[in-house]
């Protein structure tokens, strides 16, 4: 036993920001950031939320390997996100906290668990340390020493310690299923007793490399501890303290890895999100691959069953769940994305409660008074690198939150990729898309069930219930004042904005083109007179009668086209532009029908398009426009050099309400010496409304962008129907890959003005492509604003309806 006394130090450790990392996105309206100079790096235990509006951060005193004389000394920083003037630091020396060891020539770092009980603050890992309320420290040890343990506070003040990895670390990692109970006895000595080990068979099929690492553990009353949420093992275990044994209970409905667990007042446990995937063949998936990160389920302790819970509008992974008693709500946050969700038992829907500008994965979620929440520290993604792990988010963010649908927060849709946007009057509806996850060394795009409505009058953002299906690339179109149609890869839902209900439509005909069974992407390009147009990348055209739900085939496009944009115009014309078109077509017939007459379908190669196709509602056929000088205008990759077919691209072609097509295409020339086609420059062109002619538009002065993003106003565009928005991805220092990179934006009030002059709007730091929030425009026709994302821009004024 080791006891040390110490003194509080009224100073905080702060490490200067490393110059190589670019800045984080700025704070959103309503977001307050404190202590942003504090990097809080090297945390060896998770931050611990206390009930006084603070969080404890556990740091090694030695911040670099070069420092000496401070190994295994720690500092505990008490962080008040809303009252930084109250921050303080405790430095513990000589208590034998082993956080680093050199073994086999390698430096190893131990991972401790942190939790609070009436006895004090526990740090449990290779060694045990209890920081008592009187400031003394008592130490002990686990048998054998181990790290990365799970801990659960028990009602008698003791702590259940479950599992963990060996210490020193071994390769491959050796997992233990041991369970111990530790407590402080009356003499002030840390005691421990062995409890029955977790009844999990390591090495069985389904266990990952012989480890049982990630799972959830929660005290559910009466000393009972629920262990669940290990996707590899799928079982649910319950510790019965009276019998001193583990009971095997029904597995979760879905294979979740590390969900967040919250105990509800009625005794149920709500498990949300986590990592995991269900293939389409499973009954619960209904034929589509399903991500567990947008789902939840309840554990009913009386019936001892898991039941499906409400879906989540955004993916929740590595997050926390906090019960806010004053509000009677569960807050979900500090996960991979800067989004907080809230749910009140009894409500049908989980709502987006708040939006921050900076990610804080793994940070401390600290409920504050006045329906505010602070998120301290955490990690954010390095979006300016192809592969990179997260970096420490400095300081803390404080935001107001609400479980009510409407609030004045910024929309989450502004950071979504490949989502759908549609404008009607002064309302913008956003649905679906992905959120970019760059936390674990590779770029992933997490599905969402996002649905938000922004109402210009009042500037409120409404969090709609989660979509009835996961989305990766969604489209949305208003049907009338009250209804909107949402489409994602052959799944259709009709949303009633007033009742906030979804009705799934039968979209089976979309999975076949009527000729062969080749499944191709289709997209909703618009609605006219209750008829929705869905156009497939294999040139098939489908009409959906929104009222009857009946799908019929329309006239096929002339060519198969990928990565196109489409638009249904008010006069009944439909335009499909941009992307790549198949250079060849091929005869095709069923293999088992030699006498069947062949039809023709696209074959390839795909070549950047120079023409667009126009549907004539009078002649009821498609015809091609004249060719532009430049080719392409595909939905292009972001500068991180991904292929055109991956998610997250930005558009380089857009269709105005007049039917004019605007395109940033590539002018090429065949290099005879080299023997290949080379790119000369990107050119900006605009067609006439009938597609017969093209003319060139200038870029903003001094700009010759290689990967511009081109957007036009959604809806009719109101006062600026032929406005253009141009984003250029630029690096302030092209030699330093880690130096700040951002999008810079300009706008043209009218692309048809005799001498168009671009006006600068501002910059956007990833994950934002378009500047966040409402952007004032320098406009002649009165005050105007723009709000947008990579999916489109809404132009509006608050004086009158503009759309």
């Amino acid at each position: 036993m080791t006891v040390r006394s110490f003194a509080f130090l009224l100073l905080s450790l702060s490490i200067p920001a490393i110059a190589a990392d670019p800045p984080h996105p700025p704070a959103l309206p309503g977001e307050t950031r404190t202590n942003m100079a504090s990097q809080i790096k090297g945390q060896f235990a998770p931050p611990l939320t206390l009930n006084d509006g603070s969080a404890l951060i556990f740091l090694p005193v030695c911040q670099t390997y070069q420092e000496s004389g401070c190994q295994n000394e720690i500092a505990i920083q008490k962080f008040f996100p809303a009252e930084p003037q109250r921050n303080s630091t405790i430095r513990l020396t000589g208590v034998g906290v082993e956080i680093e060891r050199t073994a086999g020539g390698n430096n190893q770092h131990a991972r401790y668990a942190s939790l609070a009980t009436p006895a004090g603050i526990w740090l449990i890992g290779p060694s045990i340390h209890l920081l008592r309320p009187d400031g003394s420290v008592v130490s002990g040890k686990l048998t054998p020493p181990r790290q990365s343990v799970h801990t659960v506070a028990l009602p008698d003040g003791s702590v259940m310690v479950l599992g963990g990895l060996s210490w020193p670390s071994s390769y491959p990692a050796a997992s233990t299923l041991k369970v111990e109970r530790v407590w402080l006895d009356a003499k002030g000595v840390i005691r421990s007793e062995d409890l029955p080990s977790l009844p999990v068979k390591l090495g069985n099929p389904g266990t990952s490399g012989g480890t049982f690492g990630r799972f959830g553990a929660l005290h559910i009353g009466g000393g009972q501890v629920l262990v669940t949420g290990n996707a590899n093992h799928k079982s649910t275990l319950l510790y019965d303290p009276a019998a001193k044994k583990w009971l095997a209970l029904p597995a979760m409905l879905m294979p979740r890895n590390d969900p967040a667990l919250a105990r509800l007042p009625d005794g149920r446990v709500w498990a949300t999100g986590g990592e995991g995937h269900i293939w389409g063949g499973a009954p619960v998936a209904r034929g589509r691959d399903l991500s567990v990160s947008t789902t939840s389920e309840f554990w009913d302790p009386k019936q001892r069953v898991w039941q499906r819970g409400p879906d989540l509008p955004v993916s929740m992974q590595d997050h926390q769940a906090v019960w806010v008693a004053d509000e009677g709500a569960v807050l979900l946050g500090a996960g991979r994305f800067p989004v907080l969700l809230a749910w009140k038992p009894g409500d049908e829907a989980v709502r987006i409660a708040a939006q921050m500008g900076i990610e804080r994965r793994g940070g401390a979620l600290v409920p504050l008074s006045g329906r505010r929440v602070g998120v301290v520290s955490g990690l954010s993604a390095r979006v300016n690198a192809n592969e990179a792990y997260g970096r420490r988010s400095p300081g803390a963010s404080v935001v107001a939150w609400t479980a009510a649908p409407a609030s004045s927060r910024s929309g989450t849709w502004q950071i979504a990729n490949d989502g759908g946007l549609s404008v009607r009057g002064d309302r913008l509806l956003a649905a679906g898309g992905t959120l970019r996850n760059h936390h674990d060394g590779s770029v992933k795009y997490e599905v969402t069930r996002l649905a938000e409505l922004w109402q210009g009058a009042g500037g409120q953002t409404v969090s709609l219930p989660a979509l009835p299906f996961d989305t990766r690339r969604a489209e949305v179109a208003w049907v009338d004042e009250q209804r909107a149609l949402i489409h994602e890869s052959g799944q259709l839902a009709l949303l009633d904005v007033k009742t906030q209900d979804y009705r799934l439509l039968d979209a089976a005909p979309l999975s076949r083109d009527g000729f062969s069974n080749r499944a191709d992407y289709s997209r909703l390009v618009g609605i006219n007179h209750q008829r929705a147009w869905l156009i497939s990348e294999n040139a098939a055209v489908y009409w959906l009668d929104v009222n009857s739900g009946r799908i019929t085939e329309g006239p096929r496009l002339q060519r198969q086209r990928q990565n196109f944009v489409g638009r249904v115009l008010n006069d009944g014309r439909v335009i499909v532009a941009g992307g790549v078109v198949e250079g060849e077509i091929v005869a095709s017939r069923p293999a088992d029908c030699a006498d069947c007459s062949p039809g023709y379908i696209g074959w390839g190669p795909y070549l950047p398009a120079r023409r667009h196709e126009i549907y004539d509602p009078v002649r009821k056929n498609w015809h091609s426009s004249s060719p532009s000088r430049a080719a392409g205008g595909a939905v292009a990759s972001l500068p991180e050099k991904r292929s055109n077919n991956e998610h997250g691209g930005v558009p380089r072609v857009a269709i105005l309400a007049s039917g004019q097509v605007v395109k940033a295409g590539q002018i090429t020339r065949f290099n005879n010496e080299a023997g290949y086609m080379e790119n000369l420059r990107v050119e900006l062109e605009i067609s006439s409304p009938d597609g017969a002619t093209w003319r060139t538009l200038p870029f903003p002065e001094g700009q010759s962008p290689e990967n511009p993003c081109l957007l036009v106003p959604l809806g009719n565009g109101g006062l600026y129907p032929d406005a253009l928005f141009l984003g250029v991805w630029e690096a302030t220092n092209k030699k330093d890959f880690n130096h700040p990179w951002h999008w810079r934006w300009w706008w043209l009030p009218s692309a048809n003005a005799p001498n168009p002059v671009w006006r600068e709007i501002g910059t956007a730091i990833p994950p934002y492509v378009f500047p966040a929030g409402e952007i004032p425009l320098d406009a002649e026709n009165g005050p105007a604003w723009a709000m947008g994302s990579a999916a489109g821009v809404m132009v509006y004024s608050r004086n009158k309806s503009t759309n």
């Binding site: 062969s516 069974n517 080749r518 499944a519 250079g583 060849e584 077509i585 091929v586 005869a587 095709s588 017939r589 069923p590 293999a591 088992d592 029908c593 030699a594 062949p598 023709y600 379908i601 074959w603 390839g604 190669p605």
Partner: protein, 284 residues
């Protein structure tokens, strides 16, 4: 003694006749031996050596194959087309010598080194020998061979189709056709085979299926898959050599079709086929 000599002469003559007979009537390839059936059909066809990569050690006009199916002998022909698009036949001899063949993932196996005399030039399309009935009735002579050119299909622009206008005004069409399964495959994304179909007067004949290797499907021009089209059997109808392989792994897959060998219901008959993937090739 004189009597013995005459007897010996008969024996020797008989033996010579046997040997010649053995050469002319090639024994049936032993299909139980791996890689023994590269050439099949009544016409033995071989690829021109220059088409092989230098890695196979055949840059000097030789071919090196595993197995023991080939025999030395005369009666071979080389079809060559020069820059002037004139094509000609040249008689040749094949000499075969045993030579072990390396394997990519194992010890050497028995093999053969094939040497043609004369060495087929760079424009050689085909090396072949009518082997057995009915092909051995072919009457071939050195010199020019009537040759036609396949053209892009006019009525189906933007396709990979080719056509040949026959003397009688009919159009012979080569139509690459994607064969799609009528019912969904167990897994989505399964590639559908691209076959070559021959159309004439409403008659349709599937000639074979194209192979594209790991590189995946590609766009073809008619001249890519019809290596030669002409009249080899002098019946006034087109014969052709079709290449079915478009993988860049050095494999070969081509067929000689002769109009005179067409069976009932066919437009042309399969005369000879060569298919081989080098066993010492990694394939990637």
């Amino acid at each position: 003694m004189k009597h013995l000599t005459r007897r010996a002469a008969v024996l020797v003559a008989g033996l010579a006749l046997s040997i010649a007979w053995a050469q002319e009537t090639q024994p049936e390839p032993d299909y139980s031996v791996p890689y023994a059936h590269k050439s099949s059909g009544s016409v033995v066809v071989l690829p021109p050596p220059y088409l092989y990569s230098p890695d196979n050690g055949t840059s000097n006009g030789t071919l090196h194959f595993p197995g023991r199916e080939y025999r030395s002998g005369d009666g071979w022909w080389i079809l060559t087309c020069g820059d002037s698009k004139q094509c000609k036949l040249q008689s040749a001899r094949l000499d075969v010598a045993a030579h072990p063949h390396p394997q990519y993932d194992g010890p050497d196996v028995p093999g053969q080194m094939l040497r043609l005399t004369p060495v087929p030039p760079a424009g050689a399309i085909l090396v072949f020998k009518p082997f057995r009935a009915p092909a051995n009735a072919l009457v071939l002579a050195e010199g020019q061979v009537e040759t036609w050119r396949i053209a892009r299909a006019t009525k189906t622009p933007g396709t990979m189709e080719g056509e040949l206008a026959l003397a009688d005004g009919r159009i012979l069409r080569f139509v690459p056709t994607l064969l799609v399964p009528k019912t969904p495959p167990p897994e989505r994304g399964e590639s559908d085979p691209l076959a070559l179909e021959l159309l004439l007067d409403g008659q349709r004949q599937t000639l074979g299926v194209f192979g594209f290797g790991m590189e995946g499907l590609a766009t073809l021009k008619p001249a890519d898959y019809v290596r030669w089209i002409g009249d080899l059997d002098h019946d006034g109808k087109p014969d052709f050599v079709v290449n079915f392989n478009f993988a860049s792994d050095g494999s070969q897959n081509f067929t000689l079709f002769l109009s005179s060998l067409a069976k009932p219901g066919e437009i042309v008959g399969l005369a000879g086929h060569f298919s081989y993937f080098s066993i010492n090739n990694t394939g990637c």
